[in-house]
Amino acid sequence: MKQYVLQRFLQMIVILFGTSFIIFFLFAMLPGDYIDSNISLTPQRAQELKALYGLDQPVLQRYFTWLGNALHGDFGYSLKHQEKVLSLLNKYVWNSFFVAIFALVLTWSIALVSGVISAIKQYSWFDGFVTFFVFAAMSFPSFFISLLFIKWFGVDLQILPIGGMIDTGSDSTGLAHLLEVGKHMILPVTILTLLSIGSLTRYFRTGMLEVIRQDYIRTARAKGLKERVVIFKHALKNAILPAITLLAFELPGLFSGAIIMEQIFNWPGVGRIQLESVSFRDYPVLMAFTMFLSCLTIIGNFLADVTYAAVDPRIRLK
């Protein structure tokens, strides 16, 4: 096990470097930088500035400078917000995080319950409904469902706010503030839940169905155990164990912000910062954030593999 973790860890380091390299080069490929595009500079001054920022050096050298700074937590300044990238991201990432964590908890609990029930009652009307719903949820374009919900609940019924995190001009504090934010969060959380619930429900259903067909379940029934005991004590435990590793894959999603949802709901999250940095060509922000997400993905994969190996010893024997 130790050897497997070590091996996997080294692999992770390699991928981390590779990813940072690719991301850096993607951005280095961009024609023009913010000095080239500033026409008020004389060629001489532009040259000086380039030397100052190190832009006149070969790409490989720039990569190592950037990497060195990044390892010290210095990702440069946002060109649009005139603020350190890190503190800018820190300001917005939590707005995204709270929506994501609520959605995650909701998704997992609903998916677990509905997946398991529809597996136990395979081919029942409930199962049919869940299967249908799963496909619908997997196929909805995020922007379309967001817009439909805003139209139904915000415009037609007028029971929920159509966007933003607080009412315009509101300066509520304490509990009132929390309630206000909570009210604005209902639709975003619902939509994120809807969008991610499909595949997870399916996963639980498949896992449960597979376990129910095992011989040891038949044995448990043959022993005369109550159906409830068979399902909850023998089947469920084995069915959801592998799913624990899936939690590790959720790691990046907690911080990534939902670009499209945040854009439509005017939610001040990090996804909107990301989209904004694309349209304003605010590359330091975009680069730092992409790097951050990739790191989380890679760490998430690592954790998933390691927990999976811990849960299922067959994996590490390979």
Partner: protein, 306 residues
């Protein structure tokens, strides 16, 4: 082709009487009502998109200021947009673009992914390591942000609007191939151990022939399922990018950029016929593709049936 051995061929013909795997698959698929409905709906969508415009009395980009923002009526079934263009006609043309991009992106990803995956699984060693690490790296960058960055880079290159859709196809396949490569590699690794591969060794076939004629064809059933689902994913990604203004850009219509109308609050509130039809079209098409893909999976491998 090697010259076929007539005796062997004859024997094979007399022994194998059961229908081919494809016929069996199709027979099983026909029993799956949802998959069949989806198949027919997709056919309908294709016909509507590719033949429908010829029956439309309206010309695609003909603007008509006197007739703008009309709600649905007998003359304009889905109303008209801010330039007085017929929404239904645009919806059909947009279908052509969106479906073409979805399918082309899938074909490209499948080609790149299966080839690299097969090479990786067949040769192992350094080649395998390099290809798989590149795939890992690409898979570790989240999909939509990666597409956004690529889109930004491409806008810097000032690609003309009419070429944008080809670029989108390439971008989508760039993001799509690693998963496929990994899948094919896994299949090849297990196929390589099977007796028929020893036979190709004995026959002294070239590596190219082993890979292209013996290994990849055996991954086709699985590839078919994944490729189908990949089309759905590509259509969703394309529409999201176009909705954000980073994909297919007007005047070329796509389902995603038609939904851009909803970004204007007046259009969003007062003129739902501008954005509900394209959204519904995306939704129904993607649901159908997913259901069909799922049906195919069950039909190809009844053991896996859930």
């Amino acid at each position: 082709m090697d010259t076929p051995n007539p005796i062997v061929n004859k024997q094979v013909k007399t022994v194998v009487k059961s229908p081919s795997i494809w016929k069996q698959t199709f027979r099983r698929l026909k029993k799956n009502k949802l998959a069949m409905i989806s198949l027919f709906f997709l056919l309908f969508m294709f016909l509507l998109s590719f033949i429908g415009p010829y029956f439309s009395p309206y010309i695609l980009d003909r603007t008509n200021v006197a007739n703008m923002n009309q709600p649905p009526s007998a003359a304009h079934w889905l109303g008209t947009d801010n330039y007085g263009r017929d929404v239904l006609t645009r919806l059909m043309m947009a279908g052509q673009i969106s479906l073409t991009i979805g399918i082309a992106a899938m074909v490209l990803s499948v080609m790149i992914g299966s080839l690299l995956g097969a090479i990786s699984g067949f040769y192992r060693g350094v080649v395998d390591m390099v290809i798989m690490r590149v795939a890992d790296i690409l898979m570790s960058i989240p999909g939509l942000p990666l597409l956004l960055i690529l889109a930004a880079i491409l806008s810097e290159w000032k690609v003309p609007a009419e070429y944008r859709l080809y670029i989108i196809m390439i971008m989508l396949s760039f993001v799509g191939w690693p998963g496929l490569a990994r899948l094919v590699r896994g299949q090849i690794l297990s196929l390589k151990e099977q007796p028929f591969m020893q036979a190709t060794e004995v026959l002294g076939l070239s590596d190219r022939r082993k890979i292209l004629h013996h290994l990849i064809p055996n991954t086709v059933p699985l590839l078919l399922v994944v490729a189908t689902l990949n089309v759905a994913g590509s259509i969703l990604s394309e529409s999201a990018l176009s909705f954000l203004g980073l994909g297919v850009v007007p005047p070329t219509p796509s389902w995603g950029n038609m939904m851009d109308a909803a970004n204007n609050f007046m259009d969003f509130r007062k003129r739902p016929w501008l954005w509900i039809p394209p959204g519904t079209a995306i939704f129904l098409t993607v649901v159908s593709i997913n259901l069909l893909g799922d049906g195919l999976r069950d039909a190809l491998d009844p053991k896996m049936r859930r």
